[in-house]
């Protein structure tokens, strides 16, 4: 049922492409679903709007969540995910440019599993993506679906 895919919530097309590239370079071939704003991310997770009819039980293994997003921002998305029984255990990794203390505190307060600041250096970024993929897709046992 679970297809071990990644949901990337990111509005910057360059960042989306670079993340894809970093995943490919690390031979992480799992399906990557991209949501370009917070609304779209929630629609995907709850099978509403443009994703109406999608199997809601098919949840991503990990969500890579940017904070600064159109419509609903990253913290709003995180809040919704944690408030809903279906999604509240989903691993969420905040992946953002910000190293502002208030973002860190707010993210962890809302139940983020991890917080990673995107480095400017693409080598470092690739390394970060590799570690993320290794950990969340291979090492980590995801929570049972629908529990």
């Amino acid at each position: 049922m679970n297809s071990k895919h990644i949901l990337l919530v990111e509005d910057n097309p360059s960042d989306v492409q670079l993340t894809k590239r970093a995943l490919e370079q690390n031979q992480i071939t799992n399906k990557l679903v991209v949501a370009e704003d917070g609304r779209e991310a929630l629609d995907y997770l709850f099978a509403t709007g443009q994703y109406a009819g999608r199997d809601v039980r098919d949840l991503p293994s990990v969500i890579l969540l940017d904070l600064k997003l159109p419509k609903i921002d990253g913290l709003g998305v995180l809040k919704e995910i944690r408030a809903n029984a279906q999604t509240r255990l989903l691993p969420v990794v905040v992946l953002t440019s910000s190293d502002q203390e208030q973002d860190l505190i707010a993210s962890y307060n809302l139940g983020a599993n991890s917080y990673i600041r995107k480095p400017v250096d693409f080598h470092q970024f690739t390394e970060a993506v590799r570690n993320l993929g290794m950990y969340w897709l291979l090492l980590n046992e995801p929570p049972p679906v629908g529990k």
Binding site: S14, K68, S98, V120, D121, H123
Partner: protein
């Protein structure tokens, strides 16, 4: 609270020492109250005034020994009763009060003039830093059982001086004291007229009994329209303020004393005002059953400035948030795509082409560091300061050992003077000292044996820290550029850096009320001096 009570007790003690024969009976309309009771009543009244006023007040005898001080004095100058009462004024707080201008006031001006207002004294106190004070002084013949006493009311105008010079104009000079036969009354009267903040006394029916000169000046009312009137009726019923009614009719009868009660009101004559009220209820004074004393502080200007600052602060916060998010994203793109170009089109690029891409990427890294440094710099200016005693020697040693760990090839001898202490925010001072030591280590001369020294010297009577190196130094002609943001005195190819470090140091030192400067010579090293508050 404990201190307050102690002070109060001492004050009462001092006041009641007054021999009753010296207290001339006060003339009252009824005339059936005994002289003794009347004196006590007046004393209590005087004492309550002393305690109610918000500004520090000292009472001295003819020999300039402290007879009494109010709790505001203890609070403001961080001294306790024991070290104050009975002390010679110049000896207070480890002789810190031995201020030439104060000597002049007390020894030359006052004996000739009896009273003196708005005498400005600026002084650097070790415990509480630089203070600008306005002193009002009164010399009263015969009071409190002493031949001659001197009243000294101190207003701390440091903050006001710094942020708003104009506010002072709204307060006018106080009037000369009305001489009365009753010396205790004169004492009370003197206190009322010495304090700079508006003061009003009401009877149990909330009718005005007595008003300070500053009250008339500030609220632009006349004595004939004020005394005997119901407070709510003052100035064409402008004083009928719901929050004031609540204080006078609900809170005060229950609590008898109340401080810092905030009231905001739009007066037709003087406009919108935010006031802080201190209130005291006294049984029996001035021949009345009950007296309510109200001291009013106008905090409108301060509140407005605070609101403006808060807004500016929020804007800055939003700005740096945006910088942090939005400026870094394209950089990541530039770096990522130039790397993609290098990786995917390796065969199509010659050696020079590949070098150009390396250049693009290293510039991107520099830009990234600049953004990070700039953000850190602005954050340092905004973090709240938590001042405490610092072991500067230990701090320097720990910074140096980290520096040596990070740069195993660093060829330099470090000398740290033992026992150095200061007062400051640990995190911020550590950043400043680290920047100075990093800087010294960065600019060591490549030829001679490098020595980097941290210690303290006396400069113009002030204990001054220094970080000295015998490295490449710099031309003093450019010293003025040293502490500017993004200013560099050396070529980036020789000594890398963003030019934020010393700007950070200067901001941190100046936030602590200290100063920083440098002395250097090309190829003969540089010395950075800075001052901080001394540890107590």
């Amino acid at each position: 609270m404990k201190d307050d009570n102690k002070t109060k007790k001492q004050l009462v003690h001092k006041l009641t020492e007054l021999p009753s024969k010296k207290a001339a009976p006060k003339k009252t309309k009824t005339g059936n109250i005994s002289a003794e009771l009347e004196v006590k009543e007046a004393l209590l009244y005087a004492e309550s005034i002393v305690e109610t006023i918000r500004e520090p007040l000292l009472v001295m005898d003819a020999n300039l020994k402290i007879i009494s001080a109010n709790s505001s004095f203890y609070r403001t100058f961080k001294v306790n009763t024991d070290e104050t009462i009975g002390s010679f004024i110049y000896d207070l707080g480890n002789k810190q009060w031995d201020i030439p201008k104060l000597r002049e006031l007390l020894e030359n001006i006052l004996p000739q003039k009896v009273s003196f207002d708005n005498y400005e004294v600026e002084h650097e106190f070790a415990g509480i830093g630089r203070r600008v004070m306005l002193l009002n002084a009164r010399q009263i013949e015969q009071a409190m059982g002493k031949k001659r006493i001197i009243l000294l009311a101190i207003e701390d105008i440091t903050e006001r001086k710094e942020i708003e010079a104009g506010l002072e104009n709204t307060r006018k000079e106080l009037a000369v004291i009305k001489k009365t036969a009753d010396e205790v009354s004169e004492f009370a009267e003197s206190v009322i007229n010495t304090v700079r903040e508006p003061l009003i006394a009401l009877d149990q029916d909330l009718r005005v009994v007595k008003v300070s000169r500053s009250f008339y000046d500030f609220f632009k009312v006349k004595p004939e329209d004020t005394v005997g009137k119901l407070i709510y009726d003052l100035g064409n019923r402008q004083w009928d303020i719901p929050k004031l009614r609540e204080l006078l009719e609900t809170i005060l009868p229950e609590k008898a004393t109340f401080d810092n009660y905030e009231v905001e009101h739009e007066f037709t004559t003087i406009g919108r005002r935010i006031m802080l009220l201190n209130a005291r209820q006294i049984e029996q004074a001035m021949g009345k059953e009950r007296i309510i004393l109200l001291a009013i502080e106008d905090v409108t200007a301060r509140k407005d400035i605070e609101a403006g600052l808060k807004k500016a602060h929020e804007e800055l916060e939003a700005f740096s948030y945006s910088v942090s998010h939005d400026l870094r994203a394209p950089l990541r793109g530039i770096d990522g795509w130039s790397l993609a170009l290098l990786e995917d089109y390796k065969d199509k690029l010659d050696e020079q082409g590949r070098q150009y891409i390396d250049r693009v990427r290293s510039e991107t890294q520099i830009m990234g560091r600049l953004i990070d440094d700039l953000l850190m710099f602005s954050r340092q200016n905004r973090t709240e300061m938590n001042q405490r005693q610092l072991d500067m020697t230990a701090m320097a040693q720990s910074i140096i050992s980290r520096l040596q760990q990070q740069n195993p090839n660093l060829q330099a001898d470090f000398i740290v003077q033992p026992g150095l202490r200061a007062l400051g925010d640990f995190g911020l001072i550590e950043i400043a000292l680290k920047n100075l030591l990093d800087n010294a280590a960065k600019f060591i001369s490549k030829s001679s044996g490098a020595i980097i020294e941290f210690g303290q010297v006396e400069k113009e009577g002030r204990k001054t820290f220094f970080v000295r190196d015998n490295g490449v130094g710099f031309d003093m002609e450019y010293a003025h550029k040293l502490f500017g943001v993004f200013q560099r005195l050396h070529k980036a190819s020789e000594f890398p850096g963003t030019g934020i470090g010393l700007a950070s140091v200067q901001r941190i030192i100046s936030r602590h009320g200290g100063s920083i400067w440098a002395e250097a010579k090309v190829n003969e090293g540089a010395t950075f001096y800075f001052t901080l508050k001394e540890a107590t």
